[in-house]
């Protein structure tokens, strides 16, 4: 924090605006493109498969990097979610399991 709290460097501002611009372009771009494509049943099925595919692809590296504890906690979350069907209970149980496993030295 060499500068004042409420100052901003012009290069940093350009970087922030650039990051914000590409991110918004990606947020709006996929939606925009789909408005220019005829949504056939096949494309619709593909779009419907996207959420699950994205979740699987997002979680996988986290599990691979997180190791045994993270993997076990996610199994806990799936098990709890199947029984009670309440996301916040599943999340709470998974976090408690992680805290417990780490406290026990895993």
């Amino acid at each position: 924090m060499s500068e004042g709290a409420f100052t901003a460097d012009s290069m940093v501002l350009v970087a922030i605006l650039g990051m914000a611009a590409v991110t918004y372009a990606l947020r709006a771009g996929g939606y925009w493109i789909m408005g220019r494509v005829t949504v056939t049943p096949r494309i619709r099925r593909g779009l419907e498969a996207l959420p699950g595919a994205i979740i699987v692809s997002t979680i996988l590296p986290i599990v691979l990097q997180g190791g045994l504890v993270v993997g076990l906690c996610l199994i806990v979350a799936v098990g709890v979610q199947q029984r009670v069907k309440k996301e916040y209970i599943a999340v709470f149980c998974a976090a408690a399991a992680a805290a417990g496993l780490r406290a026990s030295g895993l």
Binding site: M1, V22, T23, L26, A49, P51, G52, I59, Q81, A99
Partner: protein
């Protein structure tokens, strides 16, 4: 193929906002850690607030801060924008999947609302859409509350260093992945999902092993979507 009876109501927004409460701890810790990282890297308080609130894409902000060095030169600036694009490439697909729901809503409403598109509120909204909800306030309300919580959470992190010295001891690092798998459970309906998810997982894994980083989310998602589209029972 577009939904006709799409509505937007305040009660939908409130419902969406309330659904986010279980992930507040995860967002707050994630945001606070970003504040700490930004402070250590030498960003001013104002720069940190601006980046956090107008980029509003956590993972990409962390990766950009890994590259950042003071004083910022042009090559580093371009690299920061480039990695932000790479990490957020999945937004293209997430946004595309909202088209069937929001396609009949006028653009002057949807395009501003797309600024608030995150993995979290997209997942929440689509899980309600699967159950028959057509009120897109669920998407908007959850996006707005996540943005507000995210924007505020960076402040204590910036000043206090880190509120919790070891988030792992409290299991806070598993909150977001646990939330994702919990949302995955009701999406499974049968063979089509099994095939699609196996394809997504395999391709994401190979991509991650070869290139690391976040590219696997993009390649895995595309593979899963193709598998889902071309798998005929």
């Amino acid at each position: 193929m577009l939904e006709k009876n799409v509505t937007l109501s305040l009660s939908g927004c409130v419902q969406g906002a309330l659904m986010c409460i279980p992930v507040f701890p995860g967002i707050i810790v994630f945001g606070a850690v970003f504040g700490t990282v930004a402070a250590q890297k030498g960003l001013s308080f104002l720069e940190t607030l601006l980046m956090n609130s107008i980029v509003f894409a956590g993972a990409s902000q962390f990766v950009a801060m890994e590259i950042y060095s003071e004083p910022l030169d042009r090559a580093t600036l371009i690299a920061m924008v480039g990695v932000t694009a790479a990490v957020n490439m999945r937004m293209l697909l997430i946004g595309a999947s909202l088209r069937p729901w929001l396609g009949t809503v006028p653009g002057y409403k949807t395009y501003p609302a797309l600024f608030f598109l995150t993995d979290l509120n997209w997942l929440l909204a689509l899980s309600q859409y699967e159950k028959g909800a057509r009120d897109w306030g669920i998407y908007l309300g959850s996006g707005l509350i996540i943005w507000a919580v995210w924007s505020l959470s960076v402040i204590p992190g910036y000043f206090a260093g880190s509120l919790i010295s070891d988030p792992k001891a409290f299991g806070l690092d598993v909150i977001l992945p646990a939330f994702f798998v919990a949302l995955l459970v009701p999406l499974w309906k049968g063979k089509r999902q099994t095939v699609s998810w196996l394809a997504a997982g395999a391709v994401a894994w190979v991509t991650w092993a070869l290139f690391g980083g976040y590219w696997g989310i993009f390649t895995g998602a595309i593979a899963g979507a193709f598998a889902g589209a071309y798998f005929d029972e």
